[in-house]
Symmetry: D4
Subunit: 203 residues, 8 copies
């Protein structure tokens, strides 16, 4: 915890945005205590404090998930994309075993520039969503499940074999990576004119 | 081939039904030549010649699949169930990436007593079907695919983790087993009164 | 726990049946305290409170297992099938290494419409049972074991390769799913005349 | 082959673009013979014939790879993106064991809106590229290699664990999927104003 | 083939017994042609020519298997044990899905000092046999099967998890090793008085 | 613990031998307290109380292992064989990386009728021992190790591929099974005349 | 802990060097208390007390790693090599996603006779370093990561498939082995004239 | 083949050494025909033609293997080390199941600066050799074997878990890499004075 607070302190003093993920509850409490102007998110196990710079514009991102057990990863993705400046819509009850409920969201799914789709179990949601919208879909398998879910390997493999084109996949439970990648796409979608990338980037 | 023909000959002489699966084209041709009154099915790699007994009544079975590459397995399941006396409906273009086309079959899916659902790739179809109908669903993964499909292990794992209740799973490409299990269920559904099972069964 | 109680409360108020599985002992205690008219089952880690509706008739289900270590999963299956209205017979000491003891149950095995067979270790029981009765067998591997049992992967693989026809398989430790699927079959077996399935089902 | 030609014929008559991948040399020859105005690509095992519609504008895509053995997959990605209207730059000699040669491309890497990075062996290239440019990187593992490369599983796992943020991953050898996803992003990057997605998309 | 014949020639000239396994049909034909006094076994892909020494006495070995597809491995085991001097009884139709047929062999199973049990599919046979006789059981998984049999890994894992005590396991398809180990045990069972082992043994 | 004590009580009252393995320290203490005439072995996590019957004679068994970390499994094997009446010699410092020290035991290795060889890490010891003595070798992999030892899967696989003939393999950490199998062999080696096996055996 | 102290005591009394790795904090504290003249290293979980002999000369070793999470393994390697007499340079911030920072170390990387390269995640660092220097590179994967890092299997596989020649690989987290192997090489590099190895070595 | 000849031509014209590995017999014949002054090695599937430069001095390398089936990989390693200037001794009949024959080589094993140890099956040879000599050992698993050898994964895992310190491991069948790494070490051992590495190396 001390090490995390000390790194955070260095980042804040530099005026840079601070986004800490996969925090223990102790570490989260320490960051909230240290920088009360920032925001702690217990479900996503994440702390965010914006930097002094201005974020680039970004088109809307949708984060789609099925149930409560996938929320920590879905929220990590959503909060990461928001921290990078993208407006995020959350669609939370989109299970493939209740396809009619999922289809009620069809119109709103189409209003996103890029979609993050979070699923455990059989990992089928990205295929269904990818078939409904012709936008980039970033799939995130979760480690929720038991037995033959193999700690998330099953939805990971399923997503890699998606029969919908345009679906790319992140590591298991990697909500941060999905939110980051989605925000990169969303910025491109918002830029009036395209500019080459700045040098040496990434966390 | 000679061994297969000789076993077939023994079965036919005993008046028993003959159902041979996973046949090479040579073996299939030899059976068709030997018993022209039977039926050979090149896609399903299967030969069937009914026995002299009367088959028990059976309720309708649906065999659902997505595309042409899954047809050999789907047909093996359908023909097996038919050989055991069950009326079979085939639903063939039910891909999860085209969910609206799948939903056009919703009514007909509900008319089956039991459903065999065949899928490769991410193996998501049984979850969607299982959510639409409150009937037993027997899922069959196929070895169609490449790379991370791992010869059918990926849809197998996905189906075992289905978020729809009531889905049970067969071995990869085991259309015969699925058709057999479906027919057992369909016979139960058709029997006016339930009778205990006869002894020592199975192929 | 609070979240579970709150979801349970919603279900009970709606007059729907409540079946909660995989409960921690805290959660189980809270449900028992909240709805003393329901029944808690510590071995199966399950709570059940019937709804106000009338359950459809169902033919008898047998739940077969070998030893004490598989009882939590076997009981989860049995109680689930009972909660859905099926009469359940439990056969508990059916190990394949003591085949004569298993065969003492042969007659009673044949009196079920559908059988749930629960096994860990080498997962051989469904093959032996499936060879004795010509009824649908739903096999459930358990995570009991050590070393090369790989947390239940070994009996799962063994069951998928069963040499008895008509055996379909559930995820490791998925007693709920097996009981649910068995009840669906048992209802079909009991229905005097077959009726198409109602829409959008499943938990 | 006949089936492929017949499907192709149907697509061409409908005025739709035709993009056929993973073709055997026979199938490729048949398509080239049938539609000489299209283009066959033996290395990428792909045939393309544009449709009658006008493609949306798209920002530039870079396809980065290391050596000759990865070219079939890299070309499949590049030609797919081009078929969808994106201008593509190919960077071919970018091995991580010759890092100075890779860095000679640094400026040109930054001029792409989105990058497809194709690699076999240890699959390290996406991490290095992802660290150099702050753009979406779509990584494609190839099945090139032997022994512990496990048919591409090793670079697949490596890419999923990339220490560079913003890297998402496709199935092994899935150049088509990567090119398709890249083109979706490139179109967003080029659109002067953002419009919601059209319905029911994908192959 | 030339290399095999040359090694065989060296062994025969030294007066040692010759036992060659896993032979191609060409190699088998060459050995039969070269030493017509020996015996070639096409099913077991094995050639045997006794040496000039006298074999030690050995108690009876039983080799148990279920069906025709396991015969090559079962015969390799049986012929190896015979080549080492053990009398062998073959029990060939002992499938676990037909348990009553297996039990017809119960008496003869008990007459062996040690049993080799060969099985593919779910690999359940050693558990049943091991429960019937209190003798050492050497289990051999075979690579017969498809899909989730994983080339014999499934019966291998199942046998390692046998619920019958006293079952030890050989590599997949290793009939030679099982026959060799069984003969070592059978010699011990036959020795009137126990003598320490000679030095540096093995093939 | 209560359940274990209750089962133990039943066995003791029946005059049968009691051998309990894989005991927690609580369970071990309870058994020692309940039957002080029996013997508890904390390293092997095992309790033994002989029955009232007379054990059959048995030839000597050697239990070979390399270091202190494999002792729990080696002792479980040794004590099991002793409980079944076999005299056991323990050889404990036989690591393959110190081959000269191992060879100092060569003579004593040859004095056993059957050998149990216990090893973790790369699992090489059974091959070296199997090459030194022409006796049955029962190999037991242990879960000692880290990283690529995969909880004992590595020595298990290595032992199954032993280049010494006559080596058969038990499940990971299964000292009980190895001791049991060794005792069955040792009894055969001691019997002046061979008698058919009694029926229905095993724990 | 008592056992460790007792073994340590024996080594120290013999005047031999003491190098204890993978220590719990309790064991480390006990060794520090017992031999205050030695040195405990909490990060590397290692205790070292030199022996009375003179260490052979050794050329310089570099230990390269990317971040703080790999330090325990990197330090274990570095301290082991130092305990064997090699001068060690530590290069700690060499991540492949920040390739320009890594290249700032290029000159110093070339000054080592042999390099230990420690990495988790995608395990790409050894390939980049191996391409920069024509010296032996010993790669050590770490178990740092989550999801598809599979406890270090992913970087292990990646390193085995390194596209840079001369890279050999150690077990996951095996800093000791890497430091030991590097010191053996470094001694060879320092020896004015080459002398054959002494007998029976290794811990 | 044409592509290989064309690349070879470019290398030869530049006066650089040519070392081509993993050649088909056609490619090997073409290289032998094109440059008769070079040397083709059919067993190792390798072609070598020295360059015009002078090779650095190198200390002796030993390449140790057990049997004929491992010779292609062992020869690839030996010829690679020789092509880089190291004198190589081949020790070919060093199986661990015949430990006395292996020990006859003990003196000659100690005369090498570095050893390449090639083994399939259980991969135990590097541990025994590593225990006999205090020199760097580079282990190479081979894909020779069947069933649970998993195409070389088993000896690979075994070698990574070697109980002898100083053993590092190459990819399955990677004789080239082992010979290359051994030559790098052997050059260090021969250099009168140590010089820093030149820049950007590797094939």
């Amino acid at each position: 915890v001390d090490q995390i607070v000390s790194i955070a302190d260095r980042i804040v003093r530099a005026g840079e945005p601070l986004l800490a993920t996969r925090l223990s509850s102790d570490a989260l409490a320490a960051l909230v205590a240290g920088w009360p102007e920032g925001q702690g998110h217990p479900v996503a196990r994440l702390f965010h404090r914006p930097g002094s710079g201005i974020l680039p514009a970004a088109a809307p991102v949708s984060v789609v998930s099925a149930g409560t057990s996938d929320q920590p990863v879905a929220e990590e993705a959503a909060l990461t994309a928001e921290a990078l400046g993208a407006p995020v819509r959350r669609i939370r009850d989109a299970g493939v075993a209740g396809i009619h409920r999922l289809l009620e969201h069809e119109t709103s799914l189409r209003e996103a520039a890029v979609l993050v789709v979070v699923a455990g179990m059989e990992g089928a949601l990205p295929s269904v969503v990818g078939g409904l919208v012709d936008r980039p879909v970033i799939a995130v398998p979760t480690s929720v499940g038991y037995g033959a879910s193999l700690g998330g390997i099953t939805p990971l493999l399923a997503m890699l074999n998606s029969c919908a084109a345009g679906v790319s996949v992140m590591n298991i439970d990697n909500g941060f990576g999905a939110g980051y990648a989605a925000a990169l796409v969303a910025r491109l979608a918002a830029s009036a004119e395209f500019v080459p990338a700045p040098g040496q980037a990434g966390p």
